[in-house]
Amino acid sequence: MINRQEYQALPGRVSGPMYSARLYQSRHHLLKSTVMGFHEHFRRFAWEDIQAIIIQETPWNGVMSLLLSLVFLMQAVSFLTFSDKAMVTFLIYLPFLILIGALLAVNLSRGPTCKTFLLTSVTRERLWSLNRVRKARELIDAVAPIILARQAEAGAAQHAAPAPSYPGEEITFTAAPASPPGASPAESQAHYPGGSAPKAAESGRWHLLALLFLAFAMMGNIFDLLLSEANPWLDRIGMICFLGSCATCVAVLISQTRKVSPRAVRVFGMILLGYHILEAMLIFGILAFGVILAVKHADLSGEIFEARKMFWFYPLVRSELAVETAVFLFGAIIMGRYLKRRSVETDASGTLPATEAT
């Protein structure tokens, strides 16, 4: 029933197994299509109603590049320092390096990341398909002439049209007085609906604690990674710090009196969750493999275990350590960024930032 001939696809696309988002243009409107699970949802925006397209730059491109570079570097160092330079070792390390290098190249080639919003008089809609600045600019270059033409037509029609059949009422809102550029956050907060800015939810000491734990865990991991022999004490210290950072995140979430938890801890909590799911899958896979081997080849299990340790287990542990270090670094960056921003804003205005509770 949807006339697909009427629509033309626009630049930018996000796609996953059960999720995808894309924009289409038609004569009358911009169509936002989002596939979520078993349904495809549509939102339509008339060209006449689009007030602005806003691109908010995000740092994720740099963060991803940094993390991938780190993992790539660690894999390369691990390969170079590996004592056994047999062809098999080379063949095991090579796919890891190629995969990470390819991901890094793709990430760099796609350019800086962003969030894109479409503004109308009644709503502000996130355009999920546009998460790179280059694509967002391409889209705007494509649709701006249409929007300008349609809005010029609509404006002309509005002026030329006779009085409406029913009495119309022109409502002009009084604009809030604009503060000068560079105004302090406290001054800007005066424009919040409700008169005053919301109070900050927490002071930031939990973030500092999480940052310290993460830094210690990261250092322990790096030492563990560089030292070829297993060191139980370093493992224990790393594990305690890792558990400490997890416990800090949980404590922050529990201590919140408001429903909305601070963004930094929330984001890091989600990363930890995702990481642990992946790790659980990995461990489950290794265990399943070990059980099958033990059942099928009980007589050879000792030799197979040694071979597995040599060819699979050792690089796997190193990769896992590298990824874990990258996760800690990522968390530390998030926490550090939050603390830095918070300290700048507190210094400038003497008050806590209003962004916390929004």
């Binding site: 289409y24 596939v35 495809e40 009644v122 502000r124 701006a144 022109e170």
Partner: protein, 206 residues
């Protein structure tokens, strides 16, 4: 939203700048987020809200279907019911009643054909089939439910083969992949059952 104003997309603070219909870069004074903004003339257009007041019915005039004491001004383009000024909802030059708008959004046959642009959701059985045959077996639970989900996936694929497609998910590729996987799973389940029977028989013979 007041005219000519844009709020920060990160912290919702008002951006204290004058916007023109072109590219401009801005830094939010509250949260220091960098923004690139392309404003259009509609940003400065004042919001025109018509004062709706349905006229009372007079002798000889048709009445609104929903308000018997109000004069009808237009029929609904989908169902033909007479509508007063209050009930008349306009979209892309068409006039609709609230019932038809709701029905069109839910994809009911009559109203959705009259106003296809109102449909806001499409069911995608392709994704359901693929979810049942590809993603579900990747979990441990899916391995146990496979004897039920695989035939069910085939049934859903066959039943919805000619169903309306969405904008992004098109073609029969997902159906074909889902059916192939489902057939493979049925075969694997059958072989597993046969293997079990064989093992039990062998054990019983010993």
């Amino acid at each position: 939203m007041p005219t000519g104003q844009i709020h920060c997309t990160h912290c919702a603070a008002l951006l204290p700048f004058a916007w023109e219909s072109s590219w401009s870069r801005a830094v939010c004074p509250a949260c220091k987020e960098g923004l690139q903004i392309h404003a259009f003339p509609a940003l400065h257009r004042s919001l025109k809200i018509p004062a709706k007041g349905a006229l009372p019915i007079e002798d000889g005039n048709a009445a609104c279907f929903f308000h018997s004491r109000k004069a009808a001004v237009v029929p609904c383009d989908a169902c033909g019911r007479f509508l007063c000024d209050l009930c008349d909802l306009q979209f892309q030059g068409g006039h609709f009643c609230a019932t038809c708008l709701d029905a069109a959004q839910k994809g009911r046959k009559g109203p959705a054909e009259a106003a296809p642009f109102l449909k806001d959701r499409v069911f995608l059985p392709q994704n359901l089939v693929l979810g049942m045959t590809l993603y579900l077996p990747l979990t441990m639970v899916g391995l146990y439910t496979m004897p039920i989900t695989a035939p069910a996936a085939i049934w859903i694929a066959v039943r919805n083969w000619n169903r309306e497609e969405g904008m992004q998910v098109r073609g029969k590729g997902r159906y074909v992949l889902g059916i192939t996987l489902a057939l493979g799973q049925i075969l694997a389940t059958g072989l597993f059952v046969l293997l079990l029977v064989y093992v039990f028989r062998k054990a019983a013979a010993k």
